[in-house]
């Protein structure tokens, strides 16, 4: 059951990453692994994420 949940979570993270979606859960996980509290709230994280998307190039 736990494995299934983890598998589903893995897929969710993968799809978010593939389509360039914000993934606050992954950010929190990163902060946990790095041993520091999250610097950004979910709203701040989403705002920063979308702002940075506007600077990237899309191909023709």
């Amino acid at each position: 059951m736990r494995r299934e949940t983890e598998g589903r979570k893995g897929w969710r993270h993968a799809l978010r990453r593939m389509f360039g979606m914000p993934d606050y859960e992954a950010y929190l996980e990163h902060c946990r692994e790095a041993g520091h509290p999250p610097r950004l709230t979910e709203r701040e994280y989403v705002k920063e994420f979308f702002d940075s998307k506007g600077t990237g190039s899309r191909c023709c």
């Binding site: 389509f19 360039g20 979606m21 979308f50 506007g54 191909c59 023709c60």
Partner: protein, 678 residues
């Protein structure tokens, strides 16, 4: 795999590919099935990936999995994140795939299916995929630095400034030509315009959903957006049939030009989450789904190619779609499907910041570009399944059609007005004649393939729906490129002006935002307008300019790649980038020269201007001005790249003759965590 088994498998793949090429090259007069084209392409990609990309990865670049990537060293859980290579492959492909690989092959089909296909397949293996891979590798070793930054540090500051200027000018031409494709696809099409207009409120709703209501829930917002989009597609058919509603969404090319410019300006000024991001998600989902469905549909029905392998226009150079002979114009026209300079911006953008291991760059950089080429091959198939008469009638203005009528008649490429009218009615349009730009003919080809694959669901009764679905698919991601391109152009302009007026560089200072957005929109809007009012159709002048500029940007990228290889002490392998660079420079400079100085008024800008001098045409003065402006732009691109090549050659000579110490600006070596067991 055992060595003998591997040898047998790869020999078999190589022989199969060679046989498929043989069938394509030797068929004359008989119909060829698309299966041969697919087989030739897939076998070449497989051999290229297995052997050439491995050679590049191991011998030329020396990819080292013990070396930590920027994603590992700078991991911040946001833009620097180690990512599974297959996930990143999808992400990178979504960023590089645009309208170029779809439209270029459709236009190049005027030479027949063979030249374009050969260049798509061979060009990508030896040039396009190498360019993407080398720039990804270089950026990966430099903490994800951009192409301009690498040119500045590795070649010299003048090269960096030149590269940045080149990108800005190229962006303006790119946006103009893409906007022209959308305008030509939507003019006098209430169904198409209604559907595309609906994407704006849909995107605004999605933006509000994922930013304000349920922050970060892009999946939910996109699902709602996709359902609404399909509703808009079906609703468009209903609107087109309503005598009171249809005129509201029926506009000519000039009105659509102003709408496009207004849209581009607003999209550049609004916060990204409102319009740009949601539209980007919608178009990415639609793009990946449609490409997969198209590939499956082609494999299911394996359509016959009705266009011959070679048309008379390959040698005559008087093609009605665009002027010029096969060399150099087939290569300029195909552009993105074989080599795209714009990929170097993506390969030195987000992707290198997400690579978990250096060896992953092979699949993502080289493999991603192979997939882009495959999309180009599918577009070529879709265009070549059309009756050649229909293809030329759709992609040619009446004026150009009249000029080429004799050659078309001799080649047997004729179609009756009644047949064109029947086709338009089947696709839910009032007319499909002179819909140049490639998008409508690709949409008809795709509609026929989709309708063939879904015959049991209604077959040809769904033609109109599939046609407008294909138009929506193309227009949606072209508009996404216009959103992002205008914004990126705005940032670049703000940065350039910021050197003399620092306040202007503040990206959140509204006077600067508005002024720079207006300038960029005016820039591409001007070229769009002149394309719209051009009697020969703007594609004839704008697409070659776009192709030349895109390929010259690739030359800039290959210059930077070659410089870095030489500085890394791998000068003996510099041919891997120098050879495609030499080819690109030859092709683009020849094309640029012909576009400016050819004595044929259909081809040369100056000759066209001279032919109008003293003409009674009331638009003559404006057309002459446009020709002179196009001349200036073409010469500017050629000068910029010449400067960059000369400065690069000088740098290579200094390093190779030991007059200068090769100083590469790689990030310091740090051992990867997983390699040390951390």
């Amino acid at each position: 795999m055992q060595p003998l088994a591997s040898l047998l498998v790869w020999s078999g793949i190589s022989l199969l590919g060679a046989a498929a090429f043989g069938v394509l090259a030797l068929s004359r007069g008989e119909t060829v099935n698309a299966a041969w084209l697919l087989t030739a392409a897939v076998c070449t990609y497989a051999v290229g990936y297995r052997f050439y990309s491995k050679f590049l990865a191991d011998r030329v670049f020396g990819l080292d999995d013990r070396r930590a990537t920027p994603a590992e060293r700078c991991n911040n859980g946001r833009d620097f994140v180690p990512t599974n290579k297959w996930v990143l492959y999808g992400h990178h492909f979504a960023a590089i795939a645009g309208a170029g690989p779809l439209v270029g092959p459709v236009l190049a089909a005027q030479f027949g299916f063979l030249p374009g296909t050969l260049w798509l397949v061979i060009g990508v293996v030896l040039g396009g995929a190498v360019q993407d891979f080398v720039i990804l590798f270089c950026s990966l070793r430099r903490d994800g630095k951009s192409l301009g930054q690498m040119a500045k540090e590795e070649v010299n500051p003048a090269a960096g400034a030149t590269a940045m200027l080149a990108v800005l000018f190229i962006m303006i031409i790119l946006l103009a030509v893409l906007a022209l494709i959308v305008v030509n696809a939507l003019k006098a099409s209430p169904w198409g315009l209604f559907t595309i207009a609906c994407t704006i409120p849909i995107a605004l709703l999605m933006g509000w959903w994922m930013k304000r209501w349920r922050p970060g829930n892009v999946g939910e917002a996109s699902a709602v957006g996709a359902v609404l989009l399909l509703g808009a597609l079906v609703g468009g058919g209903w609107v087109a049939g309503q005598p009171h509603l249809a005129p509201l969404f029926t506009h000519g090319a000039t009105a659509l030009t102003w709408m496009m410019m207004g849209y581009g300006f607003i999209a550049s000024v609004l916060p990204v989450w409102m319009l740009l991001c949601p539209r980007d998600y919608l178009s990415t989902f639609l793009k990946i789904t449609t490409i997969l469905v198209l590939a499956a549909a082609i494999l299911v029905i394996l359509p016959p190619l009705r266009m011959p392998a070679l048309t008379p226009f390959a040698s005559l150079g008087e093609g009605p779609v665009f002027a010029g002979k096969l060399f150099p114009f087939a290569f300029i026209t195909i552009a993105c499907g074989a080599i795209s300079g714009f990929h170097s911006l993506v390969a030195s953008g987000t992707t290198p910041k997400m690579i978990a291991r250096e060896s992953d760059a092979r699949l993502i950089g080289y493999g991603g570009m192979l997939m882009e080429s495959f999309v180009g091959v599918m577009a070529m198939i879709a265009a070549c399944t059309l009756d050649p008469g229909v293809y030329f009638a759709m992609n040619t203005t009446p004026a150009a059609l009249a000029q080429a009528s004799q050659a078309l008649g001799q080649a047997g490429f004729v179609v009756t007005p009644e047949a064109m009218q029947a086709l338009a009615a089947r696709m839910g349009e009032t007319t499909l004649v002179a819909r140049s730009g490639g998008a409508p003919s690709l949409a008809v080809g795709m509609a026929q393939i989709f309708a063939g694959a879904t015959g049991a669901l209604g077959g040809r009764t769904l033609d109109a729906l599939w046609y407008h679905f294909a138009i929506m698919f193309e227009a949606l991601f072209i508009l996404t490129t216009i959103d992002t391109g205008t914004r990126v152009g705005r940032f670049m302009l703000q940065e350039i002006v910021g050197h003399v007026w620092p306040r202007f560089a503040e990206t959140s200072w509204y006077p600067s935002v508005i002024a720079s957005s207006a300038l960029i929109v005016t820039g591409w809007g001007y070229f769009l307008y002149q394309g719209v009012v051009d009697p020969l159709g703007g594609i004839n002048s704008l697409w070659p300019l776009f192709g030349i500029s895109n390929q010259l940007l690739a030359a800039v990228a290959l210059c930077v790649g070659t410089t870095i290889l030489i500085k890394m002490g791998r000068g003996r392998y510099a041919w891997v980038t120098a050879a495609p660079l030499a080819w690109l420079v030859t092709v683009t400079m020849t094309a640029g020269w012909q576009k400016v100085f050819s004595a044929d008024p259909r081809l040369g800008f100056l000759a066209h201007a001279a032919s109008l001098a003293g003409s009674a045409n009331p638009d003559a003065a404006r057309l002459i001005l446009n020709d002179r402006l196009n001349t200036f732009v073409a010469l500017l691109f050629m000068t910029i790249v010449t400067v960059l090549i000369v400065t690069s050659l000088w740098e290579w000579w200094l390093v190779l003759s030991h007059r200068k110490t090769a100083n590469v600006h790689e990030a310091p070596y740090v051992e990867a965590g997983y390699a040390t067991g951390d």
